[in-house]
Symmetry: C2
Subunit: 286 residues, 2 copies
């Protein structure tokens, strides 16, 4: 297997969100030779959309994805309209940033205002997700912003995303975008899908339909002590990262490899050490 291309490393800004502002992250990427960046909406909002877009351009960074749209299920029509409007704004922002795709974390069971699930109808939530993606696609496709469905680990099915396998995401793409024009695709985040016995098959399937829009890297720690913020640095866990990258490349993926680590441990580390570690681990164990 060939080594990963150092020019194709990208940094998801969540990885150092506790330590650095958007501007500092952009400068940090440049300092460490990282050519791609994937910002989150809250960080961009804080720094200013236009200012961030300009900063990213000045530094010659590729915006490998914009995080994130989605969260389609809602208790009522008003809630679904609010989600629709917010998602359209996310598409607009992604366009302003020149992002390669808008990442969709599709949402779980409908929630009340306090964030508590008010339904146990998972199939119903999945139908709302399909309908929400279909509607957003009508807005995003003519605008030229690809939508990237991110299947999330089944442990997030209730509260974050009820698309939990790559097969499910591929099925939604088959249904909503059979023309394979790149307007709708998937994100392969190793953390969410590494356990899937059909991962190789489904990556090949996505690739055959030109749907591989992004590849996110981190690692699964043993033990994992927190469901949200205990993701590992590449090499510190049990995911066979080179094998998954090989499957991606065999399926035709030529895009960036984006490090996204939610970790209270790494959020407490000097961010220059974090980025240096990302660069080395990407080179050595991915």
């Amino acid at each position: 297997m060939t080594a990963p291309d150092p020019l194709l490393l990208s940094l998801n800004t969540a990885t150092v969100r506790a330590q650095w502002t958007m501007d500092q992250i952009v400068e940090g990427c440049t300092r460490h030779g990282i050519r791609g960046i994937a910002p989150w909406r809250d960080q961009v909002a804080h720094a200013g959309l236009i200012a961030t877009a300009q900063r990213v351009r000045e530094h010659g960074l590729v915006v490998t994805g914009y995080c994130r749209g989605g969260m389609f299920p809602a208790v009522d029509a008003a809630g679904r309209r609010a989600a629709r409007d917010d998602n359209r704004r996310a598409v607009d922002e992604a366009l302003a940033l020149g992002a390669r795709c808008l990442v969709l974390v599709v949402g779980g069971l409908p929630k009340d205002a306090a964030g508590r699930p008010v339904s146990k109808d998972l199939a119903g939530a999945r139908a709302m997700v399909r309908d929400g993606i279909a509607e957003l696609l009508e807005y995003a496709r003519p605008a030229g912003m690809p939508l990237a469905i991110e299947p999330l680990h089944p442990m997030y099915a209730a509260d974050r995303a009820c698309i939990n396998t790559l097969a499910q995401a591929n099925d939604v793409c088959d249904e909503l975008a059979p023309e394979d024009d790149g307007a709708l695709g998937v994100v392969i985040d190793v953390y969410h899908v590494w356990w899937d016995p059909h991962l190789a098959r489904e990556i090949a399937r996505a690739g055959a339909h030109k749907r591989l829009l992004a590849h996110h890297l981190c690692d699964w720690l043993v033990p994992t002590t927190d469901l949200l913020n205990d993701r590992g640095m590449m090499g510190d866990g049990v995911i066979d990262l080179p094998r998954i990258r090989q499957w991606m490349e065999a399926a035709g993926y030529r895009g960036f490899h984006e490090v996204e680590i939610f970790s209270t441990r790494w959020w407490k580390t000097d961010p220059d050490v974090v980025l240096d570690t990302c660069v080395r681990r990407y080179r050595d164990v991915t």
Copy 2:
């Protein structure tokens, strides 16, 4: 939908393992009108196998399952032989107890002596699991002890079980026991499989081949604060329990419904309150 049959409630002894001895659990079940019990090996070993079997018989309890065999993957042949021998002892114990099945938690990646994974080869671990089940089946089938593969939630793929969907378990059954004689089947634990978009289909598939050997109940809490010991009491979470029971019954399942709750919260509660709550929630929300 019909109400659940109160005579088909079973208690997995892990539910009150922090408060009660085996003897106290047997007496507690009788006191609360619970007719089934599913003991764990460590608790049985502590109380004595023969004494436990006698106690359970005296109280007229049905042993709905014995927890547990499995943990097949190992770093070397000696480790796999040790697992084989231990699993055969588990079959013998299950027979002594008159258990309806031996539950198999199949194991994850091979570990070193300290319990740390020493391999990232998940496909290899799955092959070891298949081989281990095949070998154990040769011992268990003539002895008349059904083996019940329990697919575990994907968040346990690395360290507890690399069979993570019911489809995978069904595939193993297809391969190793195509004769559908009831010697090899599956456990449907709602906690592990509730998120699965193909759950209804795979329950029907298991039922069509006479493989539904047990049904475990608890609930998925939102938020879940611990990967191991934050399972919910039925009704406190988001799992649509009546729907899953309906799928089980439509697929021909007529066995017990076993409450198995790993929960630091419930382990701190008066065990008579726990059992009373189990009985009521089983009746009202399952």
